[in-house]
């Protein structure tokens, strides 16, 4: 039995005939669509490494079944940057050395992009720390992550105001 779904990933529509309804959104992205930028750290919703944006909202892709995503608009780390450069969160991560091994990084960046889009303005670093606490970084790059998110949030606010 196959399940037909249509979803848009990073602007590209995919019409899929899924032969297995156990496939998670994370495994769909990684194993069937070849988008391996999204990482699996726990497969249990406990680490945030698999964070993607689904219809603009942050989601742990390991906790969602692919078959539930019919009609969804999904953005992954591969599709975050505009064609001509980096997303402000990405640029800030590089500058603040907000990562070491880089394994949690796609999830951190997608989570930050979602947090900022939800209206976090970067003024309260404690709120950023809280808001980013669903994304574990075993390398302990938290200081850089908080600073990077705050900076990107401030930039987003200034640009929105301009």
């Amino acid at each position: 039995m196959t399940f037909s779904i249509t979803l848009t990933v990073n602007g590209t529509p995919h019409h899929l005939a899924l032969d297995d309804m156990r496939v998670t959104l994370l495994d769909l992205l990684r194993d069937r669509l070849g988008l391996t930028g999204t990482k699996k750290g726990c497969d249990r919703g406990q680490c945030g490494a698999c964070t993607v944006l689904v219809n603009g909202q942050r989601l742990n892709a390991c906790l969602a079944l692919a078959v539930q995503q019919d009609g969804a608009e999904i953005v992954t780390i591969e599709g975050l940057a505009p064609a001509d450069g980096l997303h402000p969160v990405q640029a800030a991560f590089l500058e603040h050395d907000a990562f070491q091994c880089g394994y949690c990084t796609p999830g951190q960046i997608m989570s930050a992009a979602g947090l900022i889009a939800e209206g976090e303005d970067g003024a309260d670093i404690e709120r950023i720390r809280e808001g980013m606490s669903g994304n574990i970084c075993r390398c302990g790059a938290y200081r850089g992550i908080s600073l990077a998110v705050a900076e990107a949030a401030r930039k987003a606010k200034t640009e929105a105001g301009a």
Binding site: F93, I128, R138, A141, Y142
Partner: protein
Amino acid sequence: MPDDFAPASHVRLGSNSGQPQTRLDGLAKITGQATYAADNAPEGMLWAVYAGAPAGRGRVASLDTGAALAHPGVVHVITPQNRAELQQDPDARAHVFAWKIDILQSETIRYAGAPVALVLAETLEAATEGARLLAPEVEPLPVRIGFDDGEPFEAATVGIGANPATSVGDLEAGFAAAERITEVEIETPPQYHNAMEPHAIVAQWQDGRLVIDTPNQAIVMSRPLFAEYFGIAPEDVHIRSPYLGGGFGSKAILNGPQILACLAARETGRPVKLVLSRAQMYGPVGHRGATRQTLRLGTDAEGRLTALAHHSVSATSSFDDFLEPAANASLNTYASPAISASHSGSRWDIGTPGPMRAPGEATGSAALECAMDEAAEAAGLDPLEFRLRNYAETDPATGRAFSSKALRECYRLGAERFGWAGRPMAPGQMRDAKGRLLGWGMGTSLFPAPMSQALARATLRADGSALVETAAADMGQGAWTALAQIAADGLGLDLAQVEFRSGDSELPDGGVAGGSGHTATAGSALFSAGQDAVAQLVRLAVEDPASPLHGAGNQAVRAQGGRLMLEGDPSRSESYAAVLARAGLETLAGNGRGARSPEAAGAHAMFSHGAVFAEVAVDPDLFQIRVTRLVGAFAAGRIINPRLAESQLFGGMVWGLGFALQEEAVHDRRSGRLVNGDLAGYHVPVNADLASIEALTVPEEDPFVNALGVKGVGELGITGTVGAIANAVWHATGRRARRFPVMIEDLL
């Protein structure tokens, strides 16, 4: 021409080292393009998932292989019954980095979660379900877990081949001379590395060669470990490990699932991918063994140590011998006329522990720093003053001079930055604006500065650029960047002119990313390879009548920015490209070696040092503990890249926080299974756990550690931090840590 060229004495580095260059692999990592092992999916690949033992000790009585094989998509099941012969005994310890491993050699269960069968299927979903359907039935035996139930034994070695007992001076006389004696017993729990990237391997056989994608901290050295199991030559193992999603020691040691994946690929004739689930990370891939440590500190009337005795009972598995060398932390930190460090073992029915970020130093310094704090209190001295009174001017264990030691400056700078002065001596004296109890504590950081062995090649190219190559491992510490900076300086080129290839076993051996010695070792090899290439280029120039440098002595020529120039007369210069063009050379290769000579190693004691200051806030009603400030000041020789070094030090300090307040694996003592074997139950620090963190570095020139003057920063930060936090908790609450992690219930 020597084919391995090692720099002889302290060198002047060029303009690339010392720069806060952002990560050269950064763009790949922030755009999702960096390829980790599990991201590979070769054509025709099968998925492997293993079923783990549901009990800690006993025997697998039956497996429902029929049910697994009947599941659509399942292709094959490997059990001890049908597992093919291997050329190496998994219970032999063929190499210092080869632990005894579980690869379905029998039905005996040695720890919960050990592989009992491997399922191969066309999809991950089918393999996962197949492994579940195996539903192993076991004949359990009572498990022995915990210091009270473990089986005691005398240790032959601790750590990797270290002596289990070392003593200097007359301990009895030291204690007899003491004005007071402080005795402390502290336990540290089993802790798990929990790199964010689960262990993973993609194995394929190509014309008799084994090609492996797997995160690995010792890329070339691991080849024979794989090869021996399959009776092939080490050169026929190709390991690709460009990015590790964290390692922390766990990816230096060969593990059972890796061999099982290679075997499955050979048996099925197809590539096989095996990725551990998070739960499977608690068993076959190492951990930090538990310790029960006892310290006795004798002090005289002035608060000087007269004797220091440190014993650790270190836990290991029932079948292998890695023991956390915790007590050795007391051998090199503080001056005392008599010191003894000793260990014994306790056998538990758990997976074998192994090196985990600062193995021995982390556990040992945690206990030592707590004990020092108690001794300071007993002596009526400020903890910093007490440590200064016991400052080791020479290495207490050997009497050797330190190659460099700017610890005094670390204490001064850290204390100043933190605002340590004016700290009340008695606990429970400070409150913050929210009414929380505040406490300040400190600890000394110490970590050895070892080197392994590495080789490198640097090839100048006709266009004046260069290719540098070594099989280094970047597990996040920044090898891709810091090593390229050193390599560029060795070549007298700008970083942008250097192409760096790494992370692949076909390249020259880059040594081990371990012991915080990778930058020093692989960096030395790369630097000397560059120098070797440049030396050859200089020879070509000075011997060539057409060169503006003709006739100059080799020593009088300087290499910088891709040009050779006469020292003192920059008008006599030419580009690398010009020299190569006239000589008709497309390329010119130099080789380099990084290692420390035994004479150099024996002449000095070599350590990185630091001082960590912590502030905690404790809720007076709920006793919740929050670390509000961490300030570390560290001296670790020459810093190649301050941006990356700071991140490494932060990482270590964050680990110190996890050690002090969160990390603990808990076993069910009936079944032997972990009750918190996932990231919801096993707590590691998250972003909100730490409010403010600073890592300062104290400049330190060290002409003895290696020609580059580089020590290491990867493990230093965790030492010192654990004790600083525990001591701050005491200062806030008056409660001394008797075990880690310090929890609310310890403060009630």
